[in-house]
Symmetry: C2
Subunit: 388 residues, 2 copies
DNA sequence: CGTCAACATGACAACGCTGTCATTAAATCG
DNA sequence: CGATTTAATGACAGCGTTGTCATGTTGACG
């Protein structure tokens, strides 16, 4: 046997040597270097990141105690805590996410799922989520998808299980799809919803509510104050609750001023530039022509502006246009667009922190803090497109 | 001792029971259920994902062989391979990323680092990268950052080491910053660069090259063909190589038609709407007034359009405007903008696949496939803003 | 039909952390 | 101030992979 193994090919022999050598180095480092910052440079200039073990050794405690410190378990004596924190600092220790994920039940990864053609919105959302993630040690998996796909429920569930996600951030329209929500509930998956509305949904999970109704009311009110009474409304996708809320706000504001709601002035569409263009063409043909348009978002509004101009209409003199969302390009049309600004990055942060809180409270069975919704109301921003 | 431990608090006792119970269940599942699809539902409806172990057992091989199959190591007999693949299918096995990351040297995570205010570009890039990642089992970490920050090099290096990234995708301007590149090289970090140029950079790492020069040449040529000879050029940030390439292309096209390059017609700026607005104001004051403008990107072009209109100029009759990039909003201005279209999503895919290939070839020391650059040339898209 | 590569496969120790439970130190109480 | 609870800490076994090395197995060759 031994003679045979001596005849094995050179490659394997060399590997064996290397292996032994590494063991030797590890042994030496463990027994000789004591309080030296392992994290710097090792023999051969190989960077060896600090591990929980080296921190424990440096601080003179067990690895479990270090684990307690980094997980904020709270059952560590102040003196010990300080020692450990010093060690962490000194060694520039960063917990290995893979190891934590493997050892623990859930991964420190959140998923952001969206189906939204608005690039600016997505970028702002990502920014807010990332900010919050970084300060809590979570990572973010982004997942653009097609909400209309038949397979969307499976797709999401698979993603959660295969990436072992700790939780999901859902923005509209996914946050408003019952089949998605119930599938997640069934599998006990944590999620936070960002959605349109003003009342807390009946759910044990957190939500961030955007009061589109109130903002749409304010926009409509503003148009009325500018002297308009024939105000057209261009809807986005009816699958988005926001469309409905905005329409309701529009109607309510009209009613409050005793202006009858004329259903012919309400045009259906999607959240797209094209909808705006097409709607503008319909609007110019109406008689009497509306003097103002409230478009469900800035993209539609920009399209409407485009269409109005193609038809030789002056904005705002002949047609006032208001959008919604405060996309950068609402400032980049001529004239600039009146709109409602929502603090997207703030909303994202708020949602993310709610989600993380929810995940944490789930881990500790007892600690069922009341889940509270958070509320935001987009603010009216008056620009050139409605100011005669 | 024993009596003492019997008096321990109830909580700990219960946990001990639970622990034993789980062990029992595991034991049973291992010794009784043989070829049953463990992955479905376990006692108590708890979903237990298949592991490499269950696959091995199902297929009647060792876990190492399964590992060989999922890593495509190629040293598995066809018959065995098939057995294992069947087992994987049957159990719906998905390798646990955390475990792979922990056991292996590098994580299956790529980083996309960017500092770019153009939301559409970022979204398209993300989409392409994600597509490629999904089909190769990688994950994506996105990292928006500030390239002008003093600390940018440290920030990136820290990110790579703390998330144990396998590689980085760099888009401009980060892909063109020597200090960033050399820091990454020093630490032997794999990256792929997307950058402006037409010649392969001197590097052992892959690049994706965008031939801005050629595209800018084409745009300028188009303007000349429309009868323009006084063509202003509005630069983006000079820190972007693309700005320089585009300017060079512009100059070369002029020279080729014997039109002298007038440096007064070249305006400096940043890749922003504001730059366009301000430049338009300077342009209308020039005498003789330029009849065409080539803006370094669509955002500047949109700003120029805005500024021109503010000054009562008709586009394209009095001033033709061309942009660059084919952002969606180049289609959403009135008139629509002539521009150069780059297939951003394709570029992202190409870059990502190059990176993954590079990472793989690094793992196997011998397999040094030649690193080849990939080339893209943005294509001229003629729209209303330059067509009298 | 023994010999010896080359090929195929397996046993087992890492990887760095958290969960479980045992143990020790500190606090509380009768 | 000893008994007993409670707080703090530690020892150690996983978690699901991959890397290392050893051990079959096969096939070509003399």
């Amino acid at each position: 046997m031994t003679t045979l193994s001596l005849n094995r090919n050179l490659h394997q022999r060399l590997q064996a040597c290397k292996y032994l050598f590494i063991k030797l180095l590890n042994f030496l480092s463990e027994h000789k270097f004591g309080k030296i910052a392992f994290s710097f440079y090792f023999a051969f200039g190989v960077h060896v990141p600090a591990t929980i073990k080296s921190v424990a050794q440096y601080a003179g405690v067990s690895i479990k105690t270090v684990s307690r410190v980094i997980n904020n378990e709270g059952t560590v004596k102040p003196a010990t805590l300080e020692k450990v924190q010093e060690a962490i600092e000194a060694l520039d220790y960063k917990p290995n996410k893979a190891a934590r994920d493997l050892a623990g039940r859930e991964n420190f990864v959140l998923g952001y799922v969206y189906d939204n053609p608005n690039a600016y919105y997505i970028i702002d959302m990502q920014k807010g989520i990332l900010d919050e993630c970084r300060s809590s040690g979570y990572e973010l998996l982004i997942h653009p998808c097609n909400a209309a796909s038949d397979n969307i429920v499976n797709e999401l569930v698979n993603m959660v299980s295969s990436a072992r996600l700790a939780g999901l951030i859902l923005s509209p329209p996914l946050s408003e799809m019952p089949q998605v929500l119930s599938a997640l509930d069934e599998r006990n998956i944590c999620y936070v919803r960002i959605l349109s509305g003003s009342t807390t949904p009946n759910s044990s999970l957190p939500s961030v509510l955007i009061d589109d109704y109130k903002a749409a009311y304010a926009i409509t009110e503003h148009l009325i104050e500018q002297g308009h009474s024939r105000i057209a409304f261009i809807s986005g996708d009816m699958a988005h609750q926001s469309t409905i809320e905005r329409q309701e706000g529009y109607k309510a504001a009209l009613k409050a001023r005793d202006i009858p709601v004329d259903n012919q002035l309400i045009l259906n569409g999607t959240y797209s530039f094209e909808t705006g263009v097409k709607s503008a063409e319909k609007i110019v043909k109406m008689a009497p022509t509306p003097t103002a348009v409230f478009a469900c978002n800035d993209e539609i509004a920009a399209g409407t502006l485009f269409g109005a101009r193609m038809n030789g209409l002056d904005v705002p003199a002949q047609l006032a246009i208001a959008g919604f969302e405060d996309s950068p390009f609402s400032r980049q049309t001529y004239p600039t667009l009146t709109t409602a600004a929502q603090p997207t990055t703030e909303i994202a942060k708020s949602a993310t922190s709610a989600l993380i809180q929810c995940i944490r409270s789930r881990k500790k069975a007892g600690n069922q803090d009341a889940i509270r919704s958070r509320f935001f109301t987009p603010q009216l921003v008056i620009r050139q497109s409605t100011k005669g």
